[in-house]
């Protein structure tokens, strides 16, 4: 440990920062996509439309039974096949993350919606709002407010999960660091740095989530 070489980190800073940007971009897009698709799935399940609600439930349970790596491989294989031409791994990976995380987000959002008293829906209907309007203007705003800490916690999980793009070689933070590590024979320095950086962001995020939890709890 005595010959820990800091210079390899500073010499390669631009490369590492580019990698970190990819990691954050992927995280943000996947969180947004996952929440949108997850909300849709949750609303469909709660609306109890015959067949369609069942399909949404099956979707959620199905994706929750699979390893993320397998889903990444699936999309990496399928997306170019469907488009008939090769595309960058970024898009196939992004689609994989959105499809996969939506299943987890939908469970969080469903629990959030279920925690709203049913009187709220009845009140909305009573003043003449349609069911979608009741959801849009009354139930969802309240549900999301109480869900923010849990959604943030899931976003941190997703942030960590993005490291799995390693299996298709997308140059995120981990892959960039690994390339430098192998090129310069500096595995110890690079992997320790990677661990510290992931820890820093995840820990800061989870502290903030806990702070929000305390602030929002009655």
């Amino acid at each position: 440990m005595g010959d820990f070489d800091y210079s390899v980190i500073f010499d390669n800073l631009p490369l590492l920062i580019d990698g970190l940007k990819v990691t954050f971009l992927l995280t943000i897009l996947a969180v947004v996509g996952g929440i949108v698709l997850g909300t849709l799935l949750a609303l469909i399940r709660i609306a109890k439309v015959p067949v369609i609600s069942w399909v949404a439930a099956a979707y959620v349970n199905f994706f929750r039974s699979l390893p993320l790596i397998l889903v990444i491989f699936w999309l990496y294989f399928l997306v170019p096949l469907f488009l008939g031409r090769p595309v960058g791994s970024f898009y196939s990976v992004l689609i994989a993350f959105i499809l996969f995380e939506a299943a987890y987000y939908s469970e969080i959002i469903r629990a959030g919606i279920s925690s709203i008293r049913s009187g709220q829906v009845a009140a909305g209907r009573a003043i003449g709002l349609s069911y979608p309007q009741t959801m849009r203007y009354i139930v969802l705003p309240q549900a999301f407010r109480s869900m923010v800490p849990v959604l943030l916690t899931q976003a941190i999980v997703l942030f960590q999960d993005t490291s799995l793009v390693y299996v298709v070689g997308l140059k995120d933070f981990l892959v960039s660091a690994e390339l430098i590590a192998n090129r310069d024979q500096r595995l110890v320095e690079m992997f320790v740095l990677v661990a510290i950086v992931y820890f820093f962001f995840s820990f800061a995020g989870s502290l903030y989530a806990r702070h929000l939890q305390r602030k929002l709890s009655v």
Partner: protein, 238 residues
């Protein structure tokens, strides 16, 4: 979409054997890692809820450390960095002479990571039993160890069967990460079939079905176990 379907590939030699072998590695990896995760996680869960402040701190630090670093990075740390930090002889043993270095590393990394998650479940289980039970135990003259052994743990473990089941299934799914250090488990096998035959659709479908079937079977079995050991009179079990 241009694709030549050939579902028969899955039942042809050697590919069928590959799938079976892959599943075997996945299952053994998961079970062995689960032994570490469950035992260490339970100990940490007890530490986090016990009366000793230093023990609480150690367990909390462990959970924060292991929960906030991605599992894949932890796997690399154990596999590439850990042997470098050891004295020369020990490092060489871990890297080369240890039996099945990749598999052993994967089991340990997966076990230690999941222990932090099991710890949180055990802690919430003990919290769910409530302080009244703990005080009742103390009042009848039990020491702290006895309170845990005879009152808190038997109740807590029964309450947390559902979350522990999903933690086990998380290990089962996370075992696929071992492919990054060269353990040829189920996902790696299907990837290999894809590369050999170009029948990616069939290979990935096989893996998908196997993972889903195992997951749903475990969930079904655990639901039966949960009903068998249910504590009468608890709100959560009604």
């Amino acid at each position: 979409m241009n694709y030549n379907w050939d579902w028969g590939i899955l039942f042809r030699e050697p590919y069928f054997d590959w799938l079976v072998e892959g599943l075997m590695w996945t299952v053994s990896l998961s079970l062995l890692a689960w032994i570490i995760a469950f035992s260490l996680g339970s100990i940490l869960g007890i530490m986090r809820t016990c009366s000793s402040r230093p023990l609480q701190l150690i367990a909390t630090a462990y959970v924060e450390l292991f929960r906030n670093i991605p599992l894949l990075v932890q796997l690399f740390l154990w596999y590439f960095v850990f042997p470098e930090l050891l004295p020369d002889d020990a490092g060489r043993w871990v890297k080369r002479e240890m039996p099945m270095p990749a598999l052993t590393t994967a089991i340990i990394a997966l076990g230690l990571y999941t222990a932090s998650r099991v710890c949180e479940q055990v802690r919430s289980g003990i919290a769910a039993v409530g302080p009244g039970q703990r005080n009742a135990g103390k009042a009848i003259g039990m020491n702290e160890w006895q309170v845990y052994r005879y009152i808190l743990l038997p109740n807590a473990f029964r309450i947390i069967i559902p979350p522990l089941t999903s933690e086990f299934l998380t290990i089962f799914k996370n075992s696929s990460l071992a492919l990054t250090i060269g353990v040829v488990e189920l996902t790696a096998m299907t990837r290999q079939i894809e590369e050999y035959t170009f029948q990616g659709f069939e290979a990935f479908t096989a893996a998908t079905l196997i993972y889903s079937v195992v997951t749903f079977t475990v969930m079904l079995l655990m639901r039966i176990v949960e009903r068998r050991v249910r504590i009468p009179g608890m709100i959560s079990t009604n």
